[in-house]
Assembly symmetry: C2
Homo-oligomer: 216 residues x 2
DNA sequence: AATAATTTGACCAAGGTGGTCATCGGTGCT
DNA sequence: AGCACCGATGACCACCTTGGTCAAATTATT
């Protein structure tokens, strides 16, 4: 086995484990592997230095664990995709909501995986590159599988349209993330989120879809 | 005067000065003020430590100089905006090209100013916050001044449409920046850039504009 | 009360930090 | 050639942070 985690980390209760994971992710995404400080991580996670190195035998081990944990989260996101939904907007809408829920629990997972690709520390690079590429390839394959492209206007450059859609979702997602913590009720936020997104979606559908498919 | 730069930095030839400025910007944007290493900067700029501290009396001085230099570049970008062009797409297109030219010369200025806002080092924070907000406020004011909004569809949420446009431009700009150095001829790149952007613009115009204004 | 399991933080050697300054090398003048 | 000038250099400094350790303290279990 490549990564060996001492069993005592699993014995921790969920809250504390997530606190540590999030503290580590935050520090790694902010500073990269080399410059990430274990001192900062333990401070943020409110545990002692000794404990961290009891749970993980080295900084590298911690990184690898947190990385693989993040990968798992994405994988689970993929599993949830409903392949019977053939409308691109509806499918992406659903994924977007799931992402929001994940970001509520793990605020920097997506940033972490995005940043991990350009991690230049030789110590962790190989572990990353082999996985991340595969993950993203699988992701885009699943996400766009069985989509009904016949709804799109004939003279539309669909690839570019999808790029626009992605950039818009990303921008909107960022904006929403900034507001996420002003809501105490996550269900209420989800509702608000969906309602606002629909307006953006409608604008794009107007251009992407044939007339008869514009309104859902 | 708040920032006093020893005159010998001005005496340097343009190439070297830009090399130093870019090296500093790169390091600051990658690591923030506190963690930015002057050792890394001198290595990247191919000058000695002594020289750097001959040109600037401290790391803070260097930061402030580079920051104000970046602000100037943005200001100049604003000056160039042609206010007689009332078509939003045409105006943004023009700004986009200018930005590309700037990014060729100073690859990280925009990232630097974007990152500077969330700089948490108390030492430089106050210098930043007072300026950046003003800059962006002035920017959006100029950019959207005298735009002919009558071209837009009546039932369109113009504010949201402009957000989509911005996110799309940002996404496309990033994509283009990644390709910018594969072109040796900047003029050729500009042409290619414009041609590709037009396709994206056309997709959005289809949704934003009334029928009669779609094709330029 | 006794034992086992966890957590703690002072401590370490190693390495990096911003900044200094005696020395160097080149250029131009006499 | 000899001299004076000046920008460039990098070894050097005191200080700080680093990843990781471990004896001692605390808590949990018997």
């Amino acid at each position: 086995m490549v990564t060996e985690i001492k069993s005592n980390f699993y014995k921790l209760n969920d809250d504390k484990r997530e606190l540590i994971i999030n503290a580590a992710i935050k520090e790694f995404v902010q500073n990269g592997f080399d410059k990430a400080s274990t001192n900062e991580i333990v401070k943020e996670a409110q545990i002692s230095k000794g404990s961290l190195f009891n749970y993980f035998k080295s900084k590298k081990d911690l990184y690898v664990y947190v990385f693989e944990y993040s990968v798992q989260i994405i994988e689970q996101l993929y599993e949830q995709i409903d392949l019977t939904e053939t409308d691109l907007f509806k499918r992406l809408e659903h994924i977007g909501i799931q992402k929001m829920y994940i970001q509520k629990k793990y605020p920097h997972v997506f940033d972490f995986l995005a940043q991990s690709v350009q991690e230049d520390s030789a110590e962790v690079k190989e572990i990353i590159n082999s996985k991340v590429d595969a993950i993203y390839a699988r992701g885009t394959k699943i996400i766009y599988q069985d989509i009904d492209y016949s709804k799109f206007r004939e003279d539309l450059d669909i690839e570019k349209a999808i790029e626009i859609l992605n950039w818009t979702m990303f921008g909107f997602g960022e904006k929403a993330t900034r507001q996420i913590n002003t809501f105490e009720d996550m269900a209420e936020f989800g509702e608000q989120y969906l309602k606002e997104w629909e307006i953006y979606a409608e604008i794009l559908k107007y251009s992407f879809y044939k007339n008869e498919f514009r309104v859902n």
